[in-house]
Symmetry: C2
Subunit: 286 residues, 2 copies
């Protein structure tokens, strides 16, 4: 390695990645090896092998998913809508470049088509090659990789999907538009009349404004809106939120849940909707 | 401030605390002000005012509790055993120097006596003075502050308490003995015949060996052993575990739960026992 990527520092002959996302809190990960580093047209992309979290996908210097805990996020964002809808066949994933969501969706034999719309082909490529603990090196023929703008894609589809999963990064840079009301409206229109959508809605500890805004926007469009949480160890403050919008179905049905998973099970899916007091109070549903 | 405590660095005229607890992962908190710094006979003690977490108790350079999220840990470790036992009157707290557990226990009018055995008087003093968001500046006459070695104290008491809460720091340094089998045996003996104990048993992500050892030790003594989890944002990996040993009662009863809390509620108390798949699998209960 002639020159280190700008996000990596060498200290006492050790390599460290220091996340610069927050002004007043820094996480530093000790790195064994820079497996891949390069620029896509959209962002700086790295696969790092770390001591504590195994391999990590790092975009613009921020950890997105890791071998250690990627399954938690990918399972909870995927299996929840797939068990909310009784018979999902057509599934759209917006984002999800690490392929972990597509991998979970592919566990459902009833699903006929999985459209994965990711803007950055390089992310998919390096995750398939270097992050197979998360991506599973997905080769399921039902998965269609569509390298395009998810916002534009949603605008152009209508009454087509049973389930839409928005696996976006934080609402800064390329993912900002994935938190807009007009985007959710387009998702609503892309869903069939009994469709279900879900998106990650940030940390209840640090980003309550975004959580609340997301909830309100989805709630203004969908007759049924549900907030749920999971623990994502590599995200700031650990506690993470997801907002689900449903056109018809009222609740998750786990009676026949039998998937091979590492985080979720029937009880975890059901309890995820039980919110801490401070979340319920701050959400202050009118 | 003439000289900075050794755990604090000044970088570009900003103050930062960098936790040195783990070899391969460092958390750095930007600090507004060093409210207190000093040595007790047991450890280095600081109260820091941080940007993202408000005031924090820092022992030997490691964050123990903060104004932002201290309530989560203190509520889940306290209210669980107090609602497992149907009528707790005599309560023993081992550790808990930030006084947050005592504050939660004092919310139960039926509790007659709260013995809080903390080895380090300085921790209690500075938390009462400078960390009242956590400690509540506790002046309830039922609380007896006993500055002594919790291990020795437990050895000297017999058939006396309804509930024992072990609020220890990590099993390094002074708290190491609070994870030994002989200590749990002494707790067992200190409890009445229908008593309930609980202790924090570290992170399922990073310290599964300690979690498993703790669970097995308590399970070897108590007829009923239950593991539960909560999200503690300032602890590594967010997900934290607690192990409860009960001599008689089988489950938490939240029918009449009516306490003023910010994290827990009936549902959170009940769902805390539902464990992620990887925890159940790794625990591999024989």
């Amino acid at each position: 390695m002639e020159q280190l990527p700008k996000y990596i520092q060498k200290v006492n002959n050790e390599l460290w990645l220091t996340e610069d996302e927050r002004d007043n809190l820094k996480l530093s990960y000790r790195i064994k090896e820079i497996v891949y580093a390069g620029h896509s047209p959209f962002q700086h992309v790295m696969i790092l092998d770390s001591y504590d979290f195994g391999r990590m996908l790092v975009l613009d210097g921020v950890v997105q998913t890791t071998s250690l805990d990627g399954f938690i996020y990918n399972e909870i964002i995927s299996h929840m809508p797939l068990n909310f809808h009784p018979n999902p066949k057509q599934v759209l994933i917006i984002g999800g470049g690490d392929c972990g969501v597509a991998r979970e969706v592919a566990k459902y034999p009833g699903v006929e088509k999985i459209d994965m719309v990711e803007i950055d082909e390089l992310v998919v490529k390096v995750c398939k090659e270097h992050l197979q603990e998360v991506s599973g090196n997905l080769s399921d023929p039902r998965v269609h990789f569509i390298y395009a703008d998810g916002v534009k894609f949603a605008k152009e589809h209508n009454n087509e999907y049973d389930v839409i999963i928005v696996d976006s990064s934080d609402p800064i840079g390329p993912a900002k538009q994935l938190f807009e009301l007009s985007f959710y409206q387009n998702l609503y229109d892309s869903l069939k009349e009994d469709g279900v959508m879900v998106c990650q809605s940030q940390s209840p500890i640090f980003h309550f404004d975004i959580l609340k805004q997301t909830y309100k926007r989805i709630n203004s469009l969908f007759p049924i809106t549900k907030l749920y949480t999971a623990v994502v160890p590599t995200y700031p403050a650990g506690l993470w939120s997801f907002t689900l919008g449903s056109k018809k179905y009222q609740t998750v049905n786990t009676d026949n849940f039998d998937k091979d998973t590492r985080y979720i099970n029937k009880e975890i899916l059901e309890k995820a909707f039980y919110l801490p007091e401070f979340v319920k109070n701050q959400l202050n549903l009118e």
